[in-house]
């Protein structure tokens, strides 16, 4: 636990100064303006919550993907990767804690989006279910960290992590109903999307901002957490295999 907290604290100190974080903070208001303008122009004020949830999840995922691609590459560049691997601490714990720190930081984009909706468009969005909202945001941040840890290990082997990072944005947003609920997609796409934690998170966050009641909140939050945990377990397994392979081949520090 102390290893987890130390890695979390380290990343929380580093992240606010990184250009990736700055980029997400700078772009979230613009995404909100894009979504809200579409809804307002069509006089669909009931879609305001869509315009707050989508930039939050997109910003968080962009940050998470960014750090997942950078952690190992940066350790390599700084010449610290061997030392980190050589310690008895579990490396997968360090990786997931650092990704979680960034993912948690990404929650701030929801406040930005909410302020843009209120100040820019005069739509002060109510939060009728604050507890569900907070629990869903936390579970989602953890699930993002778990899922992104899978990619972190794959990026060690891939020469073009940047292309993979780019590719895993909009196709995923589309398939997991980040902006438009899965019910608006073809049935096959909806079925695929249900296997992605983001679809559960998006539905929950919209419900926490919208509806008079959130049906089965505990079950739905548990699904998000479980999908995230599966991601973490797969990521940890992959990471240990990848590390074993690069150690055997002597390519740990190769870029």
């Amino acid at each position: 636990m102390s290893l987890f907290l130390a890695a979390l604290r380290l990343q929380l100190r580093l992240a606010p100064r990184s250009p990736g974080t700055l980029q997400v903070w700078a772009t979230a208001p613009l995404f909100t303006a894009v979504f809200l303008s579409i809804a307002e122009h069509a006089h669909r004020t009931d879609l305001a919550s869509f315009s707050v949830v989508a930039p939050t999840l997109m910003g968080q995922w962009a940050l998470t993907l960014g750090i997942a691609g950078e952690i190992i590459a940066e350790e390599r560049n700084q010449g610290t990767l061997e030392a980190v691997i050589a310690t008895p601490g579990r490396f997968s714990v360090v990786v997931v804690a650092r990704i979680l720190a960034v993912s948690l930081l990404g929650v701030t984009t929801m406040a930005e989006a909410w302020l843009v909706a209120g100040l820019g468009f005069g739509r002060w969005i109510d939060v009728p279910h604050p507890v569900v909202l907070a629990a869903a945001l936390l579970a989602n941040a953890a699930a993002m960290a778990g899922t992104a840890s899978i990619l972190s290990s794959l990026f060690v082997l891939m020469p073009s992590a940047r292309i993979v990072q780019n590719t895993l944005t909009y196709p995923l947003y589309l398939l997991s109903g980040v902006l438009v609920p899965l019910s608006a997609l073809p049935a096959w796409a909806g079925a695929v999307g249900r296997a992605v934690f983001l679809s559960w998170s998006a539905d929950l966050l919209r419900a926490a901002l919208d509806g008079p009641a959130v049906p089965r909140p505990v079950t739905r939050i548990a699904v998000v957490a479980l999908l995230g945990l599966s991601g973490y377990l797969i990521g940890a397994l992959l990471l240990s295999r990848v590390l074993r392979r690069v150690r055997r081949l002597g390519t740990l520090t190769h870029t």
């Binding site: 250009p19 980029q23 579409i38 909009y170």
Partner: protein, 266 residues
């Protein structure tokens, strides 16, 4: 004899081609990048399906399909500042050749990639959302995509020059710039939706005019409604290129040369 502007752009373009080949294979571009961009069009157009507003889906599909070439082209900001990271900026500034023409050719692979992406989006995805084209419309549409890509390239070159001394901000600037264009230039909602000041400001952006021309072509409106915006797009693109050249020479290269502040790394 110094190389002419044409030669400098050509040499820059050869670099651009090499850079593109080092970044993408045909497979990673087609299935990775193009797939991601088409998903972006579907993502934004998808909101139109839940709006229940006649014409919304078509409007969003057309705007977001053309927008793909803007996203692609704005990568010029990152590759231009990449010269600093590669340690070649100081050498370029020190050389007697006009640096602006080097930069003008250096990232031409992005508008070309953007042209291909937007063509695939408009002709491949467009028909799924009611954006259909007759044979006579194909050439004007292709010309408008090319003009959008080149006009945006000029905007991007100006921004690239601005961030030469702050390369850490390259992605922040390019992303904010294209998102601002996406929000305010008529891609998602008509320009008239926004306050008058915003509407006036976006008249300086080539995309605002090329998109207006594209919608006119798509609706089969009279030629005057196409040529007017095309003229405005060419004019604004020229102004951005000029601004990039002036800024590079007088606000970046000359002061940096005098002060010796162009580091070989960052």
């Amino acid at each position: 004899m110094y190389p002419t502007a044409f030669h400098l752009v050509r040499y820059g373009f050869l670099n651009a081609v090499a850079d593109f080949k080092a970044t993408y294979t045909w497979r990673s571009w087609s299935f990775g990048w193009l797939g991601r961009m088409l998903a972006q069009v579907l993502f934004f157009t998808g909101l139109g399906r839940v709006l229940d507003q006649p014409g919304a889906v078509r409007y969003l599909a057309l705007g977001n399909a053309l927008m793909t070439c803007v996203v692609d082209t704005m990568a010029v900001v990152a590759t231009t500042s990449g010269e600093r990271r590669a340690g070649t900026l100081s050498l370029l500034v020190a050389s007697p050749a006009d640096l602006m023409w080097v930069f003008a050719g250096r990232s031409l692979h992005w508008p070309l990639s953007g042209f291909a992406t937007a063509s695939a989006a408009l002709f491949g995805l467009g028909p799924l959302f009611g954006v259909t084209w007759s044979a006579a419309q194909v050439a004007p549409v292709l010309l408008l995509i090319a003009l959008t890509a080149l006009g945006t390239y000029c905007v991007g070159l100006f921004l690239a020059v601005l961030v030469l001394n702050a390369p850490r901000l390259r992605n922040v600037v390019s992303n904010c710039a294209y998102l601002a264009m996406m929000a305010f230039c008529g891609v998602q909602v008509p320009v008239e939706f926004w306050p008058r000041g915003v509407g006036a400001a976006v008249q300086a952006v080539p995309l605002t005019h090329t998109l207006r021309a594209l919608r006119a072509v798509s609706d089969g409106r009279p030629a005057a409604e196409v040529f007017g915006p095309v003229g405005a797009a060419v004019l604004t693109a020229g102004c951005w290129l000029l601004a990039a050249g002036v800024t590079l020479r007088w606000l970046v290269a000359v002061p940096a040369r005098r002060a010796g502040t162009l580091d070989l790394s960052y």
